[in-house]
Amino acid sequence: MKALVSVKRVVDYNVRIQVKPDGSGVVTDGVKHSMNPFDEIAMEEAVRLKEKGTVTEIVAVTIGGAKNEETLRTALAFGADRAIHIKDDGEIQPLTAAKALAAAVKKEDAKLFLCGKQAIDDDANQTGQMVASLLDIAQATFASKVEIDGEKAVVTREVDAGLEVLEVDLPAVITTDLRLNEPRYLKLPDIMKAKKKPIETVSLADLGVTAGAGVKTTKTAPPPSRSKGIMVKTTDELVEALKGKGLL
């Protein structure tokens, strides 16, 4: 069974995000980028399924400019067999991404499409769902446990009230949540080997997709800074202060 895993290059989770002074977006120049942590979980799950013998080939895919090759190399070091770089320097909106990824699933005839439940940069949480919809196949989102049973996948999802277990027919889209697994440390020899694994470069046009611009970002602003607190000495003072603010 072939698994296609989509991996996105995002600003690293350790980096404190800075909004550009003109509000046109966030600062990305000179800032550390890495693979979206939820996609790392998807990658790890694919590798575990391959180690179990369920998955036979893992293909990593990403969309974006030349620097995204680094993210693919990381995926290859995780254990992807090969990678596809859908190269485009422009802005990629979720629908465009979903269309391109759906085209890649078709092209590869993959049985399983794995990706993080969302990317930590725009938190859109749409791509997996839209890929399933565009391909008219089943989807199981927010997976915290995945078992493949022949032509079916049994997926446990975390929902507000507890756990929900879904059974979906393959091919299917599975988006991965935080508790699914803990991604492994990349080993130096695997990173070395990854440099030699093949990456195929295609364009959006090759996949028959035109970049859409349905959503326009009008403004990016940092969260308002918290105003200074006051120290109260007694409970009476606290009650007074709360009353003064109309909270009691």
Binding site: D12, N14, V15, R16, Q18, P21, V27, D29, G30, V31, K32, S34, E182, R184, Y185, L186, K187, L188, P189, I191, M192, K195, K228
Partner: protein
Amino acid sequence: MSVERDVMEYDVVVVGAGPAGLSAACRLKQKAAEAGQELSVCVVEKGSEVGAHILSGAVFEPRALNELFPDWKEKGAPLKTPVKRDDIYFFTSAEKGFKMPGLFVPKTMHNEGNYIISLANLCRWLGQQAEDLGCEIYPGFAAQTAIIEDGVVKGITVGDMGVTREGEHKPDYTPGMELRAKYTIFAEGCRGHIGKQLIAQYGLDKNADPQHYGIGLKEIWTVDPSKFEPGLVVHGAGWPLDLVGTSALGGSFLYHLEDNTVYVGLIVDLSYSNPYLSPFDEFQRFKQHPVIRQYLEGGTRVAYGARAICKGGLNSMPDMAFPGGVLAGCDLGTMNFAKIKGSHTAMKSGMIAAEAVAEALIAGADGSARLDGYATKFKASWLYDELYRSRNFGPIMHKFGSLIGGAINWIEQNIFGGKFPWTFHDLKPDHKTLKPAAESQKIDYPKPDGKISFDKLSSVFLSSTNHEEDQPVHLQLKDPSIPIAQNLPMYDEPAQRYCPAGVYEVVGEGSDKRFQINAQNCVHCKTCDIKDPAQNINWVAPEGGGGPNYANM
């Protein structure tokens, strides 16, 4: 505990992807290509990416870069802001200061032809050049120890991943690899933790003065466009440190880059004597000086970081080679303190090291003999000449202070061309300069206003520092009892103050007092390893990828 380790063999392993290490890597490949030979070169870097642990002023002199890549402009090196104006101030108090007339500026402080840069970004660019030349660069992997067999350095062992705080193996435990090489170039930067061991093991410093250090603290600000003057360089001496005295020395800088970005920083000599001094708080109050504040007011602070520098210069430089390896850059101590520049000298030392290593390898050397060609080439280079001319700057400052020392330095640089017929020495190591707390005056630092000055924790937050929490503490105490039993009564445990990242705290009351190490805050500046009066703190590399994530520093 013996573990099975994977092994990779290279001709050369370089430890550290800074200006020295990357220049060495590039030069090795260039020399191999000239000779029509293959040399395999591997660079390991403890930061999560190239540039993540690089922090510098930085006014950059392009001399070494011109030699390494004469076509750096075409190749897009990030040198974008030429220095347009040089101001030097003597700050006499929190409110006052005077600008030094151009005539009195020592030659070493002239910056025509230099650029204001982000050294982190230059290193990112150098890393790309090195990869294009065929070097393998592995960020996120920390060299932990040198492999030494029969007295010969045979490479390095990379740190293990997946070890708990108590030293147990986690399920995802991954032993670090052995990277073996004919020659290993150590370019870890100031107070490299392996370099320190090698200097001791091979007695490399037996003919050198003690190394001297400073801690540099830096912030990046986005300022009001009306106050922004691209290319303006402001250097300062004096307040909040000493101008006439010699108990707390140092200097300050403020550079205007592009896009309303301003770098501001303070370098505090680690030879200071008052254990109550806090370099971080000195920096915060320094920014309130009207000369500095005028630029920052209304702006936003976007980044913070700190790093120790080696400033002993030529007098403090250890022997540079030992069997199987060499030291380069600030692992060796090549900074020119009179110019307050270390990037071009680090690059040049890496290049000279690489030339010596490449020549030896091309001639068929196996690395077991000491590489004496390195020192010979160094002595014949402009780097030696430059460091020779600046050799007296540090010792004169330590002896006479900024104002008088500055005047003597002016005479030496502008009249004698850096070639005084005598050499000054400073033989007291920085960890021995503290006076007992009982003989020192407490310093009452002003509270941060949250606009120009800030507290430590919100500052560390801006360095994007992160470490895996469950790992062995990488700040090792040789004797865990010393902080509370000795340092606290004697010096009021100065680690609480000299650490710019709030790693060290004394918590609890009375007899319950204990020394707490918040290792995950560590910005890898190495100050504790240098300044601890008992020399009891040993900085070792944490799990690879940990530490600050500096952008544009």
